[in-house]
Symmetry: C2
């Protein structure tokens, strides 16, 4: 777990009161669960943010309508097939998924958020999914890991997290390991809380949190057609202090972004890129993203090879950012490697040793202002190539 001060993570993670989940294999994957259902005992206030990709999947199109009401009872999600680029039949399939889940738990389809994740452009096996949903109500239980497992694609482990915020609990269930540079949301991240908050407050808080977490995460610079980040608040724990809730929500989203980054396809370590003293926040974010996405930085982190000039290259290719070589400094894991735009006389053996560890933390100071940002990513290894050269076929 990441070390975030003042944020007491539950170990193991739990679901907040009134939330339950189940998962099943409905025949999409050869082995293991491929269908998950998350249910609140009562209607929950809800907010969600979705991918900005211009080819959004059918579940995104439906989800944008559904979330307008600001109320959800359930989320149903399948893995293996993403239901993207399937036209009108795809939208019909997403609606049938919502209807099947609604019938199973006794609500209306407009209270169900639908997600699908996996290969793009092949038809959703809707009959298997509808059949699979039948009877899941009886299997609902309290362990978030059960729901997380059914959402996994190339994830090496299910991703859950939970934290206390006053009387309330906040829990995250997520998936995502490739095609992750969210730009509005992440792959699939569901946040459940028993705090009492209305939909507009949730929406604002979720956007604040995503701005510094999932929207600063990039595993491979590719933005998915299915990114969804939703929050459900069923109110069973009553009112909470908004400021502390926001802090806990933001810290948890950062922690989950780091969990996703560290499990990037083929990754062996987390990269944290801090940019300080930038002219504007947009410059800080752009430079941090440029560094975290640079294949030459990512392979340097993997190889533990102190080729620190690549940091200058990755800063310098941000053509529109305000950059002055003579005020640019950088450190890697606390070892100062660049000062005044020049390589320092650092201890190469010490840096090499430090780069072998996890995480690799690069801090850049642009020396031209006081804006800052942090980006999250991972190293680039042969494992990424292997996974993605034959993903469709496996």
């Amino acid at each position: 777990l990441p070390e975030l001060p003042d944020t007491p993570f539950h170990q193991p993670a739990i679901l907040p009161r009134g939330f339950h989940c189940a998962s099943r294999n409905c025949g999409l994957k050869r082995d293991g669960p491929d269908l998950s259902l998350f249910v609140s005992d009562v209607d929950a206030a809800a907010a969600a943010i979705f991918t900005r990709n211009q080819f959004p999947g059918a579940p995104i199109l439906l989800g944008r309508e559904t979330i307008l009401a600001g109320r959800l009872r359930a989320i149903v999600v399948n893995s293996k097939v993403s239901n993207v680029a399937n036209g009108e039949p795809g939208l019909d399939h997403a609606r049938r998924m919502a209807a099947a889940a609604a019938a199973e738990i006794g609500t209306t389809p407009d209270r169900v958020l639908v997600s699908s994740t996996g290969v793009i452009g092949i038809p959703l096996p809707i009959e298997r999914i509808v059949n699979g949903i039948r009877g899941m109500r009886a299997e609902l239980q309290n362990d978030p890991l059960v729901g997380a497992v059914g959402m996994m694609t190339t994830d090496s482990h299910p991703k859950v997290l939970s934290v206390t915020a006053g009387n309330a609990t906040i829990s995250w269930v997520a998936k995502g390991a490739g095609m992750v540079e969210p730009n509005m949301a992440t792959m699939l991240v569901y946040v459940f809380t028993d705090a009492a908050l209305d939909a507009p407050a949730l929406d604002a808080m979720l956007r604040n949190a995503a701005h510094v977490s999932f929207n600063m995460l990039s595993i491979d610079s590719d933005t998915s057609t299915s990114d969804t980040c939703a929050i459900l608040a069923n109110g069973l724990a009553g009112d909470v202090d908004h400021a502390s809730f926001q802090t806990a929500l933001t810290n948890g989203c950062i922690a989950m972004a780091e969990i996703l980054a560290r499990d990037g396809e083929g990754a062996t370590k987390l990269l944290r890129i801090h940019v300080r003293n930038a002219s504007t926040e947009s410059d800080a974010r752009g430079v941090a993203k440029s560094i975290v996405n640079s294949p030459l930085i990512k392979t340097m982190a993997f190889g533990a090879d102190p080729n620190v000039g690549r940091i200058l290259m990755a800063i310098g290719k941000c053509f529109s950012a305000r950059v002055r070589p003579e005020t640019t400094a950088a450190s890697i894991n606390g070892i100062v490697v660049l000062e005044n735009g020049l390589r320092t006389d650092f201890d190469e053996a010490a840096l090499r040793l430090s780069l072998r560890g996890d995480p690799v933390e690069i801090t850049v100071s642009l020396g031209v202002g006081d804006a800052a940002a942090t980006a999250f990513g991972c190293d680039l290894t042969a494992g990424y190539i292997t996974e993605n050269a034959a993903y469709f076929s496996t």
Copy 2:
């Protein structure tokens, strides 16, 4: 050699009349030439474009001054160390390289263009270079391969090309295999011609040619601090028809961009991405670059895995481009895989077979206008990781 109609490439490549080159090992690399000199018998009109990276190397800073006069006699270039991020001593070293070459061939330092390519941020071994230049004049000869070899870093082979334009010859000598998304020039590309053209004409023609060739090339999305593309015209062949010269220059630059792309670090094949029927040229270029840079497209090409939905993802993540799913179509090597934003019922076995070949050519039609662009790149393989995880140390 690429198949470009109406452009008769010389086989083997030659230098135009009045140009000569030599290369040597001066002690920067363990083996093989690491220092090259290119000389024209007489002063040549010249133009050059340089990297837009905000941490330009010392040779770039000096080159921008030198090229203002529009006249060059020689180019001197070393490989292995790039002379970037070395501050005032770096600039002094670049000036000493120019002076040494000028003394050797009997001209003034302001007629010599300097390049250095290799690791960023370590001091240039200037004494070895200055000693190495001494006596090179006696070794000048006519084979461009000799000069190309001394410029190589991770290149798997020296890169030369020559073509006829009326009475004149145009010849390219280039290097570049990683840290290549030029954005103003490419790694190092020197173009020599015996045509009689003045510096402003050369400058305009070089920019036209680079716009559709090197500026549409991306091996790994990383923009070098040392990119340089220069053209020298010594006039020994007399006047040429400007339009035919521009065509030959552009075609040769495209051919050289493809040679560089195909030799990308770890690459096994060339990617050619054509975008047609875009709303604006900027949209067409942006979408083509997005596809050619997508690690998921690059690994698909490597794995010959027909995961065609990734094309939609890479188009759709161009948030500012005008894209309509219902008019979007795409083909891979002539096989139509997407129509109206939907996957077609293509012959998967045929596509798989075709993807195993080289090049992989993806054509996208956005169906919203008549602008077009083509980008050049390569697949992403474990070889890229291996080369870049330990480049500094090898």
